[in-house]
């Protein structure tokens, strides 16, 4: 009776949950509920990797069936930037659709989904004071003056949003844009243009050092604190790479998952609408800072797949990675194929060249409320100057209105599944067993990678953290007359094969096995 009642309640909440269509990006408690719901699925293994300094969970979902650690895997990553709330929703929707309508993909591929790696920062989207936050909840002295977080933002106009402040000052560097008077641009001094404003994030100089909002009351940014090109001593990066609970917990977990062959990260960086560029000089240096040549070719191929699947044009996209970020770490330091996309760009509108003017023109056309008009306020640090607060509302430039997310998610789910379909695929071909007489048999076989992707990124062939292909013949040592019982193969290229030969003194059958967790395994029974 009680059980029935409980079940009934559960059903009711589920129905209710679905009937209220989500109208905005979810809160952390809503994402937690969705993650818990996902974990009820038999294919989903949910793990809490750690709790952040702010007490928030870092979740990992491993989604797969059967021998899921032996199948090649793709890791889908959201929330590497706390302000990029879209990325969390995309990662979650990918997982939700995967266990629902796309479950067939689990037959050959395992997926890891890390929905949110910056929950402390993400929470700011729903806080009473909203601003685009990157850092977690640890106390950090960003301006290195001996006191942590002593000059953060201040909501000067009391609207609950951190926007900008402009101080009328002929010595300032900024002036208004010709494309939209609301937008501020740097005065073109080379063309003799005068400045009109000094511009800062909404703040007061609380530590009296003449600088504004230079020592934020937030901690380390996940996407600026990993080990590739770690920007040591910079604000939001800290003094040591991978210093935070969440970054260490994630990496410790990833280093134990040998089957990941590719990452898809939703982040401001982009190598999908256009591939990374190859520089022979930078690729040759001891500290490699260019994608390697063969990997560039793979990137270009995947990029083409992306632009065919996701029609949006990457308007004014310039970020192909920033120092200490996650997407470059996954390639340069973890040696996996690594792809990143912001997943959304504001459409190009009415030929505006300034990104903000373009955004406002487009947003105005949809009658959206995305701008805080410049309004005079009294500022304690500029008692005798005109100070106005205003600007584009936080989050609006990088995150689309929530009602657009469904379509974006669908396109990106398609892309990830197409990428999975390309995964390395090892097969045995041309198997021959020839009797040499007196109980001796020669076995020859080709191992073929039936995939447009090499089994190892070129970077991966250099790394210890990708296993080599291991070829085993299952006969006792004394029955193996020639050939290797265990043979390690560095990699197989796209549609490449390699041949093996053994002589055995065996009546058979004999088992062959070849592969690596990130490339999958092929098995073959030889009977003679």
């Amino acid at each position: 009776m009680r059980k029935h009642l409980f079940f009934g309640l559960l059903l009711a909440t589920t129905i209710c949950g679905n009937s209220f269509a989500q109208s905005d990006y979810p809160t952390l408690s809503q994402t937690a509920q969705r993650i818990q719901k996902l974990s009820a699925n038999h294919a989903v293994e949910l793990k809490t990797l750690t709790k952040t300094a702010g007490g928030k969970e870092i979740y990992a979902l491993k989604i797969g069936t059967g021998a899921k650690d032996q199948k090649p895997a793709i890791a889908v990553v959201g929330g590497v930037e706390g302000y990029h709330v879209l990325s969390v929703e995309l990662a979650l929707q990918f997982a939700e659709k995967l266990v629902g309508e796309n479950a067939k993909a689990l037959e050959s591929t395992t997926f890891y989904v890390f929905p949110n790696l910056s929950p402390d920062a993400y929470a700011q989207y729903h806080d009473a004071l909203k601003y685009e936050r990157r850092g977690n909840a640890v106390a950090i002295d960003h301006d290195r003056d001996g006191v942590a977080g002593d000059n953060g933002y201040r909501d000067l106009n009391g609207d609950g949003l951190i926007t900008w402040m402009r101080i009328a000052d002929p010595m300032g560097d900024w002036t208004t844009s010709k494309e939209d008077a609301r937008v501020l641009v740097k005065a073109d001094r080379a063309k003799g243009e005068a400045g009109k404003y000094r511009v800062f994030k909404e703040s007061v100089d609380s530590d009296k050092d003449g600088k504004f909002a230079e020592d934020l009351t937030e901690g380390i940014a996940f996407n600026k604190s990993l080990s590739y090109k770690f920007p040591v001593f910079e604000p939001l990066a800290g003094d040591i790479a991978v210093s935070q609970l969440e970054s260490r917990a994630l990496l410790d977990y990833l280093f134990e998952q040998w089957n990941i062959f590719a990452f898809v990260t939703f982040s401001p960086a982009n190598n999908l609408s256009a591939p990374l560029k190859y520089s022979a000089g930078d690729a040759r240096k001891r500290v490699v800072t260019s994608i390697l040549e063969k990997d560039q070719a793979t990137n270009a191929m995947v990029s083409e797949l992306y632009t065919k699947t996701v029609p949006a044009k990457a308007f004014q996209q310039t970020n192909q990675g920033t120092d200490g970020d996650f997407f470059q770490w996954a390639y340069f330091h973890f040696a996996r194929y690594s792809f990143s996309t912001p997943a959304y760009w504001n459409p190009e509108y009415k030929g505006k060249t300034n990104a903000e003017a373009n955004f406002l023109a487009w947003s105005d056309s949809l009658k959206q409320d995305t701008f805080v008009p410049w309004t005079a306020i009294k500022h304690p640090d500029f008692p005798n100057q005109q100070v106005e607060v205003g600007g584009i509302k936080p989050f609006k430039l990088v995150n689309p209105p929530f009602e657009k997310v469904g379509e974006i998610a669908k396109q990106h789910n398609d892309f990830i599944l197409k990428l999975a379909a390309m995964q390395p695929k090892l097969e045995f071909h041309q198997l021959k067993s020839e009797s040499l007489g007196n109980g001796l048999t020669r076995i020859t076989v080709d191992l073929f990678n039936n995939s447009p992707l090499p089994t190892h990124s070129e970077m991966g062939t250099r790394s210890r953290w990708l296993r080599k292909l291991r070829v085993d013949i299952d006969v006792p040592a004394d029955q193996l007359i020639s050939g290797d019982k265990v043979k390690l193969v560095d990699s197989l290229g796209a549609f490449e094969k390699t041949s093996f030969s053994w002589i055995v003194r065996s009546k058979g059958p004999v088992q062959l096995k070849a592969g690596a967790p990130h490339a999958g395994f092929a098995t073959q029974t030889v009977t003679f």
């Binding site: 040591i240 260490r248 210890r464 080599k468 265990v486």
Partner: protein, 581 residues
């Protein structure tokens, strides 16, 4: 009355015992005479001609802390991979101030587990300072001014493995994490095998018609290569072991391939760039414990790490790519201390890692300097010069055979002996023991430990020492006064290395005036030309970017009242100083 009686008896007994034992001591004392430079009748007796396991070191460290409670304390700063404590001795005169209020010297050893004598050398520093404190004015003053944090082994697990398990002189270099060295998906499945059961992994040779070696007829320990036109008798099969996993290779997957000295978070690079690196900086708990301790002790201004071997006093940069991290001002100080070290330790040369050794990322000394602005040396202990006062070069086999003939009388070598090998048939096993070559023989340990200890003491001595040498008052009229304080640093090291200043690693030094109403405050840029730099915010607490070595800074205040005022200096790496009117 009865109680009284018992008490008397107890006292009498105690007195008797005391007089008896003091009688014995004084009788013995007549036969012991103080040798210069060595603690006489130390409270903790330590034999400096043998090696100690991790537990052996800790036992002695604990004895030091118990015997010298006013100047030595012991604590665990973290745990190793196998759960052992990382033990640190803090040595300072606690009566003259908290350890963290004084400029400090960090000393560790044994980051590479086979480089064992760093443990004994570090311990020697602690022993020497504590036992000499009562007898020696220099040491007494040093412990008033400075703090020493001494961690003899930051790799206790594999230190024990080196001694207690079969090894070569070069194994293990890592800690005890077992990894997949050969990349076949299995961890540590083909380790070395001590076939002759003597605790040493030596060499296997085999008689062979195609061998290219013969045994020297004058010295059968020595294998000689035959000429291109000569027939040999032996072939080399490599280190003692068998193919345990049947993959056709011997000893190819031992304990982890990693190197704890590629794990430090300054310009850290992954394994494919820097072999031996782990997952990310400070993956290893032993190093993380040190890093966290250093973070909590910003008073650490100098550091010393003991390795072996080769007789080197090394400074960074470790990597050529870090050349710009070390600039001329700091190199002058490195040079001054390092070159003094060459004089103090015969046979040792002062060198720079990236150009004289190898170019390497993720080393401990680069982290200490690059990330924390701490002047740091790595000493490669033991140099063959100590054998015969000759430069025979590192790992010179001819010389080593001679040492074992003339000085150690065969103790260093396992003579070749036949062994039935399951895969190679009849082989012979022999060679130098693991504790020879890189490690000091017993009779050289104490002297070299003392000289290296003296070098770190010299280094520690030159961490900053601040004093307020002058406070000058000028009447400005109208009830105003100018007060100028001079703060002198009477040692070579600045309070902030130039690397520190470049990145603002450590907070500035604060010079505070209290007991007077401050109207304005300045850092004096040129006293003669009256050039002052004003600090408008909280002028009573002046922030000074740096106090240079063997140099002074001046700060100046304009005050409107206050006759009984005081000046205090508070520097993270330079300690504290005060002055009172």
């Amino acid at each position: 009355m009865k109680i009284m009686n018992i008490k008397h008896t107890v006292t009498a007994l105690a007195l008797g015992a005391l007089s008896l034992s003091s009688f014995e001591v004084s009788a013995q004392q007549e036969n012991y005479f103080r040798a210069i430079g060595t603690p006489h009748q130390p409270k903790v007796e330590i034999a400096w001609n043998r090696y100690y396991s991790a537990e052996g070191l800790w036992d002695l460290m604990k004895k030091i802390a118990v015997a010298h409670p006013k100047i030595a304390r012991i604590e665990s700063i973290g745990k190793s991979v196998e759960g052992r404590d990382i033990l640190t001795l803090t040595i300072t005169d606690f009566a003259s101030g908290k350890d963290t209020d004084k400029p400090a010297m960090w000393i560790d050893g044994n980051i590479h587990s086979n480089e064992v004598q760093g443990g004994e050398f570090s311990l020697y520093v602690a022993w020497y300072l504590t036992e000499m404190h009562g007898d020696n004015e220099f040491v007494k003053q040093l412990l008033k001014d400075k703090t020493f944090y001494i961690t003899p082994t930051i790799n206790p697990d594999a230190r024990n493995n080196f001694f207690k398990e079969p090894n070569t002189a070069s194994s293990p270099r890592s800690g005890m994490l077992v990894l997949d060295n050969d990349g076949d998906g299995k961890n540590g499945e083909d380790r070395m095998d001590d076939l002759d059961g003597d605790g040493h992994i030596t060499m296997m040779i085999r008689k062979s018609p195609t061998g290219r070696f013969i045994k020297d007829p004058l010295d059968p320990r020595r294998l000689m290569q035959v000429g291109p036109d000569q027939v040999g008798e032996y072939e080399m099969l490599g280190q003692e072991g068998v193919d345990n996993d049947g993959d056709g290779e011997v000893n190819e997957d031992g304990i982890g391939y990693y190197d704890p000295n590629r794990d430090w978070g300054w310009n850290w690079q992954p394994d494919y760039i820097q072999r031996g690196a782990m997952r990310y900086p400070f993956t290893l708990p032993e190093n993380r414990a040190v890093m966290e301790f250093v973070w909590k002790h910003p008073n650490i201004a100098g550091a010393q790490s003991f390795h072996n071997s080769g007789g080197m006093i090394l400074r960074g940069p470790g990597a050529e790519e870090d050349l710009n991290t070390y600039n001329r001002e700091d190199i002058r100080i490195y040079d001054a201390i390092g070159k003094k070290g060459e004089e103090m330790i015969p046979g040792y040369r002062y060198l720079t890692v990236y150009k004289d050794l190898y170019s390497v990322f993720g080393g401990e000394l680069d982290w200490f300097y690059g990330n924390r602005g701490i002047f740091t040396y790595t000493n490669e202990l033991m140099v063959s010069y100590l054998y015969f006062n000759k430069e025979a070069g590192r790992g010179n086999q001819e010389e080593q055979l001679k040492v074992d003939q003339l000085l150690t009388f065969g103790d260093a070598f396992v003579n070749y002996k036949e062994y039935k090998h399951p895969q190679f048939g009849t082989v012979e096993i022999g060679g130098f023991k693991k504790t020879f070559g890189r490690a000091h023989p017993g009779f050289l340990l104490e002297q070299d430990a003392h000289r290296n200890a003296a070098f770190t003491i010299y280094h520690a001595y030159h961490t900053p020492k601040l004093s307020i040498t002058e406070v000058k008052e000028e009447e400005l009229g109208g009830g105003l006064k100018a007060i100028t304080a001079t703060i002198f640093n009477e040692r070579m090291m600045p309070t902030h290395a130039s690397q520190d200043l470049k990145y603002r690693i450590e907070r500035p030094d604060y010079v505070t005036l209290s007991g007077a109403k401050v109207l304005a405050g300045f850092v004096v840029e040129d006293a003669d030309m009256k050039k002052y730099k004003e600090q408008t915010h909280s002028p009573e607490k002046m922030a000074v970017a740096n106090i240079p070595g063997m140099g002074a800074v001046q700060v100046r205040w304009i005050v409107s009242s206050g006759s009984a005022y005081s000046v205090t200096v508070d520097s993270a790496k330079g300690g504290k100083a005060s002055w009172k009117k």
